[in-house]
Amino acid sequence: FTTFPGMPKWRKTHLTYRIMNYTPDLPRDAVDSAIEKALNVWKEVTPLTFSRTDEGEADIKISFAVRDHGDFNPFDGPGNVLGHAYPPGPGIYGDAHFDDDEQWTRDTSGTNLFLVAAHELGHSLGLFHSADPSALMYPVYNVLADLARFHLSQDDVNGIQSLYGRPPSDSSNDPVVPTESVPPGPGTPAACDPTLSFDAISTLRGEILFFKDRHFWRKSLRTLEPGFYLISSFWPSLPSGLDAAYEETSKDIVFIFKGNQFWAMKGTEVQAGYPKGIHTLGFPPTVRKIDAAVFDKEKKKTYFFVEDKYWRFDEKRQSMEPGFPKQIAEDFPGVDSKVNAAFEAFGFYYFFNGSSQLEFDPNAKKVTHVLKSNSWLNC
């Protein structure tokens, strides 16, 4: 890795960012989501935190432009230069510009905004280019075959931590997870068993938790290898053999379901008043358990899957929406079987049934990939 000459860096750990304008290629919330995810990549491995502002000055101003856009570094039309950014400092410094003559996409059919934004924001934080072809800060755009496998290289982590150090160890921001992983052995599920299926899956502060029996795998963007832990070492009051789990990201809460009960967890803390009965959410008495759940952060709704149907819960109103349940396949074409686990990442939904998983694009409203369930565990 390299840093800019003179090693400019931010002298504070809380930074503001502002999205000045939007590309016509994507819905605004897709741009918001890509930028937020790109900042999370660096937030995870440093003490840095970011908050968005929609007016006035900001440390990092993000904009889309074509050709000459007032900084003496004109863009060059489609292809070649995708974007550029300036090292930490006042005014234009710290800003990131994206060439709107590119076709910005959520996936890799065009130029993936999340990947390029994560790279350019690395510059905004003080990283220069890396000669490591596997590094995010390598100057040439490497189309990732599978966005879901994106993670920072050790070179990227070493570079940014040479500027800002490691993330604080306090638990208020990071889930406190026991340091030692559980060694695989008899009685523990094997990550690369081709028949492996999951009880429940949830994101948690940018990581993904895959629950199975008494254990869970914890997958982070910063490491290729997932950690493997006992549920009880993380959440002692929870049962094993869970049914469903989802993260309500705007509240930083993970909801965990088993049978006709559910719990609310913030990091490792069980929220007061839980467990509650699932019927307090508005399910009819005929529903005895949930199979899977996933939170739609753009619409602030949660989808609950039970057998071949699904319900939609309005997280803002805290009530089940009328007109449900509906057949799953009606609104998720191609998802024809029961869903026994689900989560959202990079703007896609991942639906699991037994040992296989469907990647579903909610905008195209179609299944875009069929994968093995354990494809996330670096098998």
């Binding site: 995708l82 350019e120 000669a131 755009y141």
Partner: protein, 82 residues
Amino acid sequence: YPVDRAAGDENNSMELIQQYLENYYNLGKDVKPFVRRRDSGPVVEKIREMQKFLGLEVTGKVDSDTLEMMRRPRCGVPDVGD
């Protein structure tokens, strides 16, 4: 005369190389146009530097791999220099 296609392509490539080295490897804009047959000089040095940084075979010559790399989409921030 009909434009000699090879010469035309060659000119384009030389322009691409000169531009790339100026943009990303701090090649001075006043450096004489790229002379292909020379085995040394500032342009050849910059080609070596670029090949090394991007993980290509360091030959100092603009082979097809090097040209192909120069045509790939990338970040507009330079790779070296201030």
